[in-house]
Symmetry: none
DNA sequence: TTCATTTGCTTGATATTCTTAGCGCGCTAT
DNA sequence: ATAGCGCGCTAAGAATATCAAGCAAATGAA
């Protein structure tokens, strides 16, 4: 079993770096996250978290982020240093990066909907559409 | 399916009452617990917890207690008000077919748009907040 | 009784999370 | 230029988890 951390040349990303990476992946601003999480995570606080100035964000915060980003909550908990294991869920299996979507940890429903959207997108391909 | 709740006619005890009950069940003193948990839970603090003077003990504390008492950690987490249910339990079984996307061979642009759509989808899925 | 120990508990201090307000930078448009 | 907006970030404070120390009451010897 490999470490739950990503590899990718960088030895070991901290929770902050991981979260920052994901957020940039999603192309969201700090304030966008604040909005999207319904103020559960203020932009200021998220900044502190991403810069590792907070040692252990509460599970609530982590959960909000995991939901928004659609990533593994338990993984975040582990990264934050919360010992999750003995109680029953030591699963936490991490698949390698199959695609960028691996990080998004889609639910079955989400995946279905994503596939539908993919079809739609490919049928309706527009030239030069850059948001 | 089945309520994650305990049995034992627990009715609706608070976390504190629950923990106090368990400790008396085990016939341990506050200081005995402090000892047994290797000072992870001080007797003073445990007293405050049992008397519901602490609103949300950290997962670490809860974990130490769950291990000592041999009770469910996640149950304690829930009692402490840590939302473990919103999107959690059932979708521990998500990943698995994300590989599907790999086979679709997304272009960079497609991937970007898919990510945006995911994000949109996630925001939409948000249940009504508690105003 | 008196002393020692142990009980649950409170108090005061410290550390940490998390919030609100605001700064300076880089844009874009007038 | 310059006014405005959104960006990431920080400073300062409020709230709260946690610890160390100590207290009164109960118990159990001697």
């Amino acid at each position: 079993m490999h470490t739950p951390n990503d590899d990718r040349a960088t030895t070991k990303r901290t929770l902050g770096q991981y979260l920052a990476g994901i957020r940039m992946d999603r192309k969201m601003s700090l304030r966008a996250v604040e909005e999207a999480t319904n103020k559960q995570v203020s932009n200021a606080y998220l900044s502190q978290i991403e810069n590792d100035k907070i040692q252990q964000p509460s599970p609530n915060i982590l959960h909000a982020l995991s939901e928004l980003y659609a990533i593994s909550f338990e993984n975040l908990m582990e990264m934050a240093g919360y010992l999750m294991g003995t109680a029953g869920r030591s699963d936490t299996e991490r698949h390698g990066r199959i695609a960028t979507f691996a990080e998004h940890n889609l639910t079955a429903d989400e995946e279905t909907e994503m596939l539908q959207y993919l079809q739609f997108m490919r049928n309706r391909k527009k030239p030069g559409d850059k948001t």
